[in-house]
């Protein structure tokens, strides 16, 4: 009997030890000396060091009151970061402040994992419209970001000169579709293996982000304004027309479907449709002289450019909302916005920050500034955004490989509408 007792105790202890493993306190809690603890998640990247500095400065200022801890999560080139947020939401282990890509705001807000931050943001009128629009869901502000982004057309100065092409210098003169297509065609040199344009084809968020302006500029859309229906929008005539236009580039071999990551930098592509963050990387290739011009516009539409960067929201598991607001505002002061934006040379999301950056008034960065301030367009706000982004991305890939535009986009509409119905 004694032996049995010993054994069963041992067995129970082993179970106890097991259940002990899983315990992790990730929520805001009172620290040992009475200070509030705040946790933050941000995707790992070039800004990590700068963010760490901002958080350290915050902790110094609030010594003994609030202690913030930021964790950098690897992102990968797909949706690894979003997967982590989903998993944390399920197990109730979300941090107090969570960074998210702009278009996910609606999905997270609708699921109730982030809470409104209406009235929490100081000097909210200083932020550019696109940031506020992207962070708003059902008339409430849920997220805000210190930086913005855009996509512009980078070009190889020498190649364009040789071909006798002068890129537009002002927003009003921005290339129309036909002009852009003609330039790409002229610059493509199949014998030398030079492509007219380079655009990345990854399997994540990028596709809807970089092709969006072509669609919007043509008067097309991805989903109804209220997010209730994709049919007639993502497969509507204007959207189809826009993608048929882009398909011309791949059909005629003006774009490499499997480019090397440095095709433009190596002089194997004359132009590049790329994110605003890319120009900082181009500094590493001093042999290639480059410039930036505006995102081409549809002949029957307005000038549009993509927008959206990593935005901060407050999760519903945040206990101390006041402390969270304090930290949120600290990250978004003019000084810190400038500091963070400087790391990747991203455009700041505050108009008053731009005035401090003389460099952004000159070529080539003025192009990016113009786009952020004048033509930025947020991505669609819908709770079915993950389905839309994924299915649209897959459809566009098929389109670039020669698929039928209408047929592919019809499939997207059907999938998205199924998802919308499921949620209602």
């Amino acid at each position: 009997m004694k032996k049995l007792l010993v054994l069963s105790t041992a067995a129970m202890l082993s179970i106890g030890a097991l259940s002990g493993c899983g315990k992790e306190d990730n929520k805001s809690a009172e620290g040992s000396n009475g200070e509030t603890k705040l946790t933050l998640w941000y995707p790992e990247g070039n800004t990590s060091a700068a963010y760490q500095e901002v958080i350290d400065a915050f902790n110094k200022e609030h010594d003994g009151e609030i202690e913030a801890e930021i964790e950098f999560i690897p992102r990968g080139n797909k949706y690894a970061y979003e997967d982590k947020i989903s998993a944390a939401a399920t197990s109730n282990t979300l941090p107090d402040l969570v960074a998210m890509d702009g278009p996910n705001v609606a999905n997270y807000a609708d699921a109730g994992i982030i809470q409104p931050i209406d009235g929490m943001i100081e000097e909210q009128d200083q932020f550019v419209d696109s940031v506020i629009k992207q962070g708003t869901f059902e008339d409430k502000l849920y997220a805000i970001s210190p930086m913005e982004s855009t996509v512009a057309l980078f070009y190889n100065v020498k190649m364009l000169e040789e071909a006798g092409i002068t890129p537009p210098k002002t927003l009003e003169e921005a290339w129309t579709w036909d002009e852009f297509y003609a330039a790409a065609k002229k610059l493509t040199n199949k014998e030398k293996g030079i492509y007219g344009v380079n655009w990345t084809l990854d399997y994540g968020e990028w596709i809807i982000y970089f092709t969006g302006p072509t669609v919007w500029s043509n008067g097309g859309s991805f989903i109804a304004e209220d997010g209730s229906k994709a049919d007639g929008h993502v497969n509507g005539p204007k959207t189809v027309e826009a993608l048929k236009y882009l398909q011309k580039f791949t059909k005629e071999g003006l774009v490499n479907l499997q480019p090397t990551p440095t095709e433009f930098e190596d002089g194997k592509a004359a132009m590049m449709l790329m994110g605003s963050w890319e120009w900082a990387k181009l500094k590493d290739y001093p042999d290639t002289e480059w410039g930036i011009t505006y995102y081409p516009k549809s002949p029957n539409g307005e000038q549009v450019s993509p927008s959206g960067d990593w935005a901060w929201g407050v999760s519903t598991s945040a206990k101390d909302k006041e402390a969270a607001a304090e930290l949120l505002n600290f990250i978004h002061t003019k000084e810190n916005v400038l500091k963070l934006a400087a790391v990747e040379d991203k455009p700041p999301a505050r108009t008053d920050a731009f005035t401090e950056l003389a460099e952004w008034d000159k070529e080539p960065l003025n192009v990016l500034k113009d786009q952020v301030l004048e033509t930025a367009h947020p991505r669609p706000l819908t709770t079915s955004y993950p389905v839309l982004s994924t299915k649209y991305g897959q459809a566009v890939q098929n389109i670039f490989l020669g698929g039928d535009v209408q047929e592919e986009l019809d499939k997207v509409a059907k999938e998205v509408d199924t998802d919308i119905d499921r949620k209602n």
Partner: protein, 302 residues
């Protein structure tokens, strides 16, 4: 008067040796059983339950019972049928090819020469490399313009092939690289089987004047039949789980030509956060694998 004494049954205070042994066995296996239950049996049971629910991953409190809705939707979903077809196609090709290649390699490196052990290392090294790394490398090899494979084909006068960019070639390209990556593992198992075959059998066959083929057909194959059965079953189960290659190399495209059941499960579960629907896929997938393994076992027995 005589007192009647009812016999009192005295309970034994000490356990018999047998009972002690049984309890000891249970106690020792308890940690393993608990782990197995928590991480295998429980999730399977939960998935089964979730497959009858509408369940948004971000909103666990909002789940509700919806009966067979997920299954009805699943069998009407064109992508599910495509994924099923692709998975079966992959399995049907990979299992025989990979097993044959593995057996061939095993026979090759079973020779008693010094190069053989070097060969073992060569053929086994892709197995220890992470599949993600292998998949990324092969994406470069399959590149249309600058890929090594197309350069080699050009050398023999064959035009550039689209490989991963073509709906007709993408799955075959993935099959080829999968066989290359995984055959080394089955080779090792076959090799262990080959080492067991008694040398005398070959000597006897030689005395009878058997050719190389006859020796292989009548000595080697029957002697390693139990190993072959094992290899076929694990390869089948592995093949059904195809995910990393399409995830890294093609994203299920072009035109869903490399979309598999597990890919679809991941996409719906994690990206679209539709836990109910992806659980239904998991349940159907579970039964497909189970039935296939049972059929295979039956065939192998004959």
């Amino acid at each position: 008067m005589e007192k009647t004494v009812t016999p009192i049954q005295v309970e034994r205070k000490t356990l018999t040796y047998e009972t002690q042994k049984r309890w000891l066995g249970i106690a020792f296996s308890l940690p393993a059983l608990v782990l197995l239950f928590t991480f295998l049996i429980l999730p399977v049971m939960l998935a089964f339950g979730y497959s009858f629910m509408s369940y948004n991953m971000l909103n666990p409190d909002g789940k509700e019972f919806t009966g067979f809705d997920n299954y009805i939707r699943l069998f009407q979903d064109g992508i599910f049928l495509t994924s099923l077809k692709n998975t079966l196609y992959f399995t049907a090709l990979v299992v025989p090819i990979q097993s044959a290649v593995a057996l061939g390699l095993a026979i090759l490196v079973n020779k008693k020469v010094k190069v053989a052990s070097l060969g073992r290392v060569f053929f086994f090294s892709p197995v220890v490399t992470s599949m993600v790394v292998v998949a990324i490398l092969w994406t470069f090899l399959y590149n249309v313009d600058s890929g090594l494979i197309n350069h080699a084909l050009n050398f023999f006068g064959i035009e550039n092939q689209p490989f991963l960019l073509s709906a007709d070639q993408s799955m075959n390209s993935i099959i080829f690289m999968s066989v290359w990556q995984a055959a080394g593992f089955q080779m090792m198992i076959f090799l262990a089987g080959l080492k067991e075959v008694p040398e005398e059998l070959y000597e006897a066959a030689e005395m009878d004047g058997a050719s190389v083929w006859q020796k292989f057909r009548n000595v080697t194959l029957p002697s390693i039949s139990h190993v072959t059965g094992f290899v076929l079953i694990i390869t089948t189960i592995q093949a059904f789980r195809l995910f990393i290659q399409p995830y890294v190399m093609t994203n299920g495209g072009p035109s869903d030509s490399t979309k598999t059941l597990v890919f679809m499960l991941y996409e719906n579960g994690f990206q679209f956060r539709d836990v109910g629907y992806s659980s239904a896929i998991a349940v159907v997938f579970f039964f497909i694998v189970l039935i296939s393994s049972l059929i295979l076992k039956k065939i192998l027995k004959q």
